[in-house]
C-alpha cells in the first residue's frame, strides 16, 4: 500500500533533548483529537437553533395568549428549516456515509452520540407534526388542495408539549457529547457543558425568531416579549461562560485565552455575540424606548453570529487542548495521593546517584 502515516517533526529551536523530555514526551500529544470540523460545527449550531425554536414555539402556544401566535408560527417554521440540513451534515461527516444506518442498529444510553442520533430522529417526528399542524392553521394545505386527512388528530397542543424535552435535549446533548471524551477543555467542566450549549442555543433560537418577526410585520407586543427572553438568556449564557473559563484553570483554559481561538473567544463570542446585543437591548430598555425593528434585527444578527463563533471556538479550542500534553497531564493528575505519574515532582532517576 502506498499510504504513509505522516507527521511533522516539531521545530523547537534552541531546546535540548533534556528540555523536550522533561515536560512531556517530546511534545507528542498523549491523546488523539477528533476529526470534527465545519460540518459538525454547523450541525451543533443548526441543531441547537432547531431544538430551542421548537421549545419556544410550543411553550408560547400553551402559555400565551393570541399575541404569541406569531411567535409560535415563526418558531415552528424556523425549527423545521434549521432541522432539515442536520442529518445531511451528520451523514457527510461520517468516514463512511453509506453506513450511517449502522447508527440506528442499537440504542445505547451510554453513548451520547447514540442518544443524540435517536433524539434527532424522535425530534424530527415532533417537529414535522408541529409544522403540519401549523400549515393547517395557516391554511396552506387548502392552497395546495391536498389537506391530509387526520390533521385534526394531531392538532392537540399537548402533542407539541410532549416534544419539548426532545427539543431541549437536541440543544444540550452536544455539550454532553463533547464532555464524554478525554479532551481536557471539554471534559474538565463536564457539568457545565450541557447547560452552556443549551443557553447558547436558547439565545440563538430567540434571535432567529426575532429576526423573522422583525422582517415580517409582527405586532410590537410579540417583539417585546422576545426581547425580554433574549436578554435573560444572554445574561445566563454570559454567566455560564465566565464560570466555565474560571473553572478551567490556567493550563487547560489556555486555548480560550491565547492565540486565534482566544481572540475569537474574547472579541467574537463574548464581545460581538453577547455584550453588544445586550447593550443594544438593555440601554434602550432602561431609557424606556419601544423596541425598534432595525435595532432588534441588528442585535439578533449579532447574537446569531456569536452563537456560531461559540461552536467554532469550543470545537477548535478543544483540538488545541488535545494537542497540548500539559493539559492532558493536568487533567489526569487527580492528586488523591502523590501520584507516580507526575513528571514535575518526582525524582526521575530510578536509582539514587551514589
Amino acid at each position: 500500500m502506498s499510504y504513509q502515516r505522516m507527521w511533522k517533526t516539531p521545530k523547537s529551536g534552541g531546546r535540548s533533548a533534556s528540555d523536550e523530555s522533561a515536560e512531556s514526551y517530546y511534545g507528542v500529544p498523549p491523546i488523539h483529537k477528533p476529526h470534527w470540523k465545519w460540518l459538525i460545527i454547523a450541525y451543533f449550531y443548526l441543531g441547537g437553533i432547531s431544538g430551542l425554536s421548537y421549545v419556544i414555539a410550543e411553550l408560547a402556544e400553551v402559555t400565551g395568549d393570541a399575541t404569541n401566535r406569531v411567535i409560535t408560527r415563526a418558531g415552528r417554521y424556523v425549527s423545521l428549516g434549521t432541522l432539515l440540513p442536520c442529518p445531511v451534515l451528520l451523514i457527510l461527516d461520517l468516514g463512511r456515509p453509506e453506513r450511517f444506518l449502522n447508527m440506528l442498529r442499537i440504542v445505547k444510553l451510554r453513548s451520547p452520540m447514540s442518544v443524540g442520533t435517536w433524539v434527532l430522529v424522535i425530534f424530527s417526528g415532533f417537529c414535522t407534526r408541529s409544522v403540519v399542524a401549523q400549515a393547517a392553521r395557516d391554511e396552506l394545505w387548502n392552497r395546495f388542495k391536498c389537506a391530509p386527512h387526520g390533521i385534526k388528530a394531531i392538532q392537540s397542543r399537548w402533542m407539541g408539549v410532549a416534544g419539548v424535552p426532545f427539543g431541549f435535549l437536541l440543544g444540550g446533548y452536544t455539550g454532553v457529547l463533547l464532555a464524554a471524551t478525554a479532551v481536557p477543555l471539554w471534559t474538565k467542566n463536564a457539568l457545565l457543558m450541557g447547560p452552556l450549549f443549551l443557553a447558547s442555543a436558547a439565545s440563538n433560537a430567540t434571535a432567529s425568531i426575532t429576526l423573522v418577526l422583525c422582517l415580517s410585520k409582527a405586532p410590537h407586543r410579540a417583539l417585546v416579549r422576545l426581547e425580554r427572553l433574549e436578554m435573560c438568556s444572554l445574561v445566563v449564557e454570559l454567566g455560564l461562560l465566565a464560570l466555565n473559563r474560571r473553572q478551567l484553570g490556567q493550563t487547560i483554559g489556555r486555548p480560550l485565552r491565547e492565540g486565534s481561538t482566544g481572540r475569537l473567544y474574547r472579541f467574537g463570542v463574548q464581545g460581538t455575540g453577547i455584550a453588544a446585543p445586550l447593550m443594544l437591548t438593555v440601554a434602550p430598555m432602561l431609557a424606556g424606548m419601544r423596541p425598534s425593528r432595525w435595532r432588534l434585527a441588528l442585535s439578533s444578527l449579532l447574537t446569531l453570529s456569536g452563537g456560531f463563533m461559540f461552536r467554532y471556538v469550543m470545537v477548535i479550542a478543544g483540538h488545541r487542548s488535545a494537542d497540548d500534553p500539559q493539559a492532558t497531564f493536568e487533567l489526569a493528575r487527580r492528586g488523591s495521593q502523590e501520584s507516580t505519574g507526575s513528571v514535575t515532582d518526582v525524582n526521575v532517576h530510578p536509582v539514587a546517584p551514589s
Binding site: L94, R105, S111, G175, A179, A199, P350
Partner: protein
C-alpha cells in the same frame, strides 16, 4: 506462554505484561505487528530529538516503542542504573481496558469485548463517526485515511482463535512483552516489582495498578506496564479516568438547565 490452544477463551481474560525494564528498543514487536496485520509503513523520520521514529499509536501503528532519554538533574548522566542504561524504552499498545471508554462511546456497537476479554473494532460495522478517537484517554484508535474507519490493535484476534499468542509477544527477544492470563500476570507483575526494588530500581511500579493511582472507572487494564519513572515520561496520563463517568451527572445538569430555561421562557412569553 504455555497456554493450550483450547484454553485461551475458556480461562480468565488474556492480556500482556509489558516489563519496560527489559525492553531494549529493538522494535521487533512493531515489525512483527506490521507484518502479521499487513499494515502499511509509516513516515520515516524522527520524533524531535528522540530515536523514536514512529511517534505515537495510530490507525496503522498498533505497537509503538517510546524512547525516553534520561537526564537526571538535567545533566549528562555519570552513573549507570541497573536497567536500560539512561534510556527508558517502552512498547506502547492499546491497553484493552476492562471497561473501555472507546466501546462506551461507539454509537454503532462496532467496538466489542471479545470472548478472550480483548477489545476489538468490528470493521464491518464501524461507520467512521470518529467518536472513539477522542474518547480513549490513551490516544489509541484513529481513523485511517485509507478506508475512513477506526483502527487499533486487535490483540491478534485471529491468532488467539488459533491458540497462538499475539505476534508482538512472540517476537519480543527479551520477554519484555509477556502474554498470559491477566490474574497470573498481575501476580507476576507484583513479584517483579518487588524484585526490581530490591535490585535498586526504587521507582518501579505497575501502571494502572490501584496503588499507582488506579484507572478511575475504567476498571483496570488488561495490558499492564512495569514502569520505572513517572508515567508522563512515557506519555501516559498519571491517573486516567473513564470520560463517560460524567455523563449521567451531565445529563442531570442539562435537565436542571432545561427546567430553568423552560420556566424563564414561560415567564418571558407572558404578558
Amino acid at each position: 506462554m504455555t497456554a493450550q490452544p483450547e484454553d485461551l477463551a475458556t480461562h480468565a481474560p488474556v492480556g500482556f505484561l509489558t516489563d519496560t525494564t527489559l525492553c531494549i528498543g529493538c522494535k521487533a514487536c512493531e515489525v512483527a505487528c506490521k507484518q502479521w496485520n499487513s499494515l502499511p509503513m509509516d513516515n520515516v523520520g524522527f520524533t524531535a530529538s528522540s530515536y523514536d521514529n514512529t511517534r505515537d499509536l495510530g490507525a496503522t501503528t498498533w505497537r509503538h516503542v517510546a524512547f525516553v532519554e534520561q537526564f537526571p538533574g538535567n545533566e549528562r548522566p555519570t552513573t549507570m542504573p541497573p536497567f536500560q542504561s539512561n534510556w527508558l524504552m517502552m512498547s506502547d499498545i492499546c491497553k484493552h481496558c476492562v471497561n473501555p471508554p472507546c466501546m462506551q462511546a461507539c454509537p454503532t456497537g462496532a467496538i466489542v469485548i471479545s470472548r478472550f476479554g480483548t477489545v476489538v473494532i468490528q470493521q464491518d460495522v464501524c461507520n467512521g463517526c470518529g467518536y472513539c478517537v477522542p474518547a480513549c484517554p490513551f490516544g489509541v484508535p484513529e481513523l485511517s485515511p485509507l478506508d475512513n474507519k477506526a483502527h487499533k490493535c486487535t490483540f491478534c484476534y485471529d491468532r488467539l482463535e488459533s491458540g497462538l499468542e499475539p505476534a508482538c509477544a512472540k517476537a519480543c527477544p527479551t520477554d519484555s512483552i509477556q502474554f498470559g492470563y491477566t490474574d497470573e500476570l498481575a501476580l507476576r507483575a507484583r513479584g517483579r516489582v518487588d524484585e526490581l526494588r530490591e535490585r535498586g530500581v526504587e521507582g518501579a511500579y505497575v501502571y494502572g495498578d490501584q496503588n499507582a493511582g488506579g484507572t478511575g472507572g475504567i476498571g483496570g487494564l488488561r495490558v499492564s506496564f512495569i514502569l520505572s519513572a513517572p508515567s508522563e515520561r512515557y506519555n501516559l496520563p498519571a491517573e486516567p479516568e473513564l470520560p463517560q463517568r460524567k455523563s449521567v451527572p451531565n445529563y442531570l445538569s442539562t435537565l436542571v438547565a432545561s427546567v430553568a430555561f423552560g420556566a424563564m421562557m414561560t415567564i418571558c412569553l407572558r404578558k
